[in-house]
């Protein structure tokens, strides 16, 4: 990889990310300034502890899980714009596969960045437009109606059906154990549906261990 280009990316990425951090914090501050309603420590703490104890470890692990998939440029972007598993990682994958570029290479990194940046622009514009239309039109009422629910409730099965087939058929030996484990987990652990975010790093860990063993034994290449 071109080191000078990578260094530049890291530098601008860091500035952008710290800028985003300051802006995101400015939102609750502004809200409290405008309304004059500041949360007391006692009000803030229970919710914060409950949330941070779950999401700080998950989001920390997500950084180490998703950044290798995304590459340098798109990592700085995707973690600011969010929706990693449902949009950013799959869009990066799709773009790299379509052009047959090696993932983790500089070419892969560039294509992933172009895909994630485009996707971020589209999502941001749709949400912004949606938020404005909610105020001035009955769009919210239309979306609240049950007509479209079966489609939008199934975005993830629709996405991972296709994506899953491509990758599972390509690496069946690696995929067998993590998939079997996940099927058992989600079938038999009560209320497991809400745990999918937390189970992604678990799936990654299992598949890395399996692939390392198979690779060492010369069973995959």
């Amino acid at each position: 990889m071109n080191k000078a280009y990578q260094d530049q990316l890291h530098l601008s990425g860091r500035y952008f990310m710290l800028g985003a951090l300051l802006l995101f914090i400015s939102a609750p501050i502004t809200l409290s300034l405008v309304t004059g309603e500041w949360p007391t420590f006692i009000e803030f703490l229970p919710g914060f502890i409950a949330t941070a104890s779950v999401f700080w470890p998950i989001t920390t692990i997500e950084v180490f899980t998703f950044t290798p998939m995304l590459g340098t440029g798109s990592s700085y972007l995707a973690f600011v714009t969010g929706n990693l598993t449902s949009i950013k990682v799959p869009v990066a994958l799709n773009a790299q596969d379509a052009l047959n570029v090696e993932k983790g290479s500089e070419a892969g990194d560039l294509i992933s960045t172009i895909a994630v940046a485009t996707s971020s622009i589209v999502t941001t514009l749709i949400i912004l437009l949606g938020a404005i239309l909610f105020i001035v039109t009955p769009l919210g009422t239309f979306l609240e109606s049950d007509v479209l629910n079966p489609a939008f409730d199934n975005v993830l099965p629709a996405l991972f059906g296709a994506l899953g087939f491509v990758y599972i058929s390509k690496r069946l030996k690696i995929a067998a154990i993590p998939i079997l484990f996940m099927l058992m987990f989600f079938l038999f652990v009560p209320n497991s549906m809400g745990l999918v975010g937390a189970m992604v790093p678990v799936g990654v860990l299992i598949s890395i261990i399996v692939s390392r063993i198979l690779y060492k034994k010369g069973m995959i290449k």
Binding site: F79, F160, V166
Partner: protein, 254 residues
């Protein structure tokens, strides 16, 4: 809700909120454009054709449409708590509905004992403070540690590129495996007017439809040499299988 409370809740559409949310959205768009332009220029220098990059941009935009509209459905729910501008800001940055909604509901439930509608402004400000600080680690970890971590990954690649390729595939498969499991997770379904917890046949059918569609697209690409379809096979499989979900639902599949 009393008139005074309604006035209190008017802050959701105050000019200050528009200003802050507008600045945040502009910032996110600016950052995206910055990275897009930079990567585009570098990709041209590296030998990619403008045609390839155009296809990448277009297919990524098409790919993003369906999940983004799904976010709008979440926006409806979150709008009931924060108003649409703040809700849009939360869903367009950092998090996802799976994080934002439970966190907001948790804070409001803790403060007033029930959900979903907050009755006091302070509940909303508290929820926003908690939501902001509850998912802050990536914004600190990435600027501080990502470069070092990335260099370590590059070292692995230099040492053994074949293993690097296997590892990359394993990473994706790990993520995919969790979502394959998620499809069969029992969930609350409304059947004959009653809420029942069971496996959703509809989700499994949509999953299988999407798999079959990508196989069909694969055959078409191979047989008719439709290279252009490569970029769109995944988004089209997703969109068509979502459309099929509506048909299956009408046929009584739940």
């Amino acid at each position: 809700m009393s008139e005074i409370e309604v006035c209190h809740m008017d802050f959701k559409n105050s000019v200050w909120i528009y200003l802050v949310v507008g600045i945040i959205f502009s910032y996110v768009l600016m950052q995206s454009i910055f990275f897009l332009v930079r990567a585009y220029k570098k990709a041209i220098e590296s030998g990619f054709t403008k045609e390839d990059l155009k296809k990448t941009i277009l297919s990524s935009a098409v790919f993003t449409l369906a999940p983004s509209f799904a976010i709008l459905i979440g926006l409806v729910t979150l709008t009931n708590i924060f108003g649409s501008m703040l809700a849009g800001m939360r869903l367009g940055t950092l998090g996802a509905l799976t994080y934002e909604l439970p966190t907001a509901e948790l804070v409001i439930r803790t403060l007033q004992g029930f959900t979903p509608q907050p009755t006091e402004v302070r509940m909303i400000t508290t929820a926003l403070w908690v939501m902001t600080f509850g998912c802050i680690p990536p914004l600190l970890i990435i600027p501080l540690f990502f470069k070092k971590y990335n260099n370590k990954l590059q070292d692995i690649k230099k040492k053994d590129n074949t293993w690097n390729q296997v590892m990359m595939d394993a990473l994706f498969i790990g993520m995919i495996s969790a979502f394959v499991g998620f499809v069969v997770a029992p969930r609350e379904l409304e059947i004959n007017g009653e809420l029942v917890t069971r496996i959703s046949l509809l989700s499994i059918l949509v999953f299988l439809t999407s798999s079959v569609l990508i196989i069909i697209f694969g055959v078409l690409i191979k047989k008719f040499k439709w290279e252009w379809l490569k970029n769109y096979a995944l988004p089209l499989s997703m969109i068509f299988s979502m459309a099929m979900a509506l048909v299956y639902f009408q046929m009584g599949v739940r």
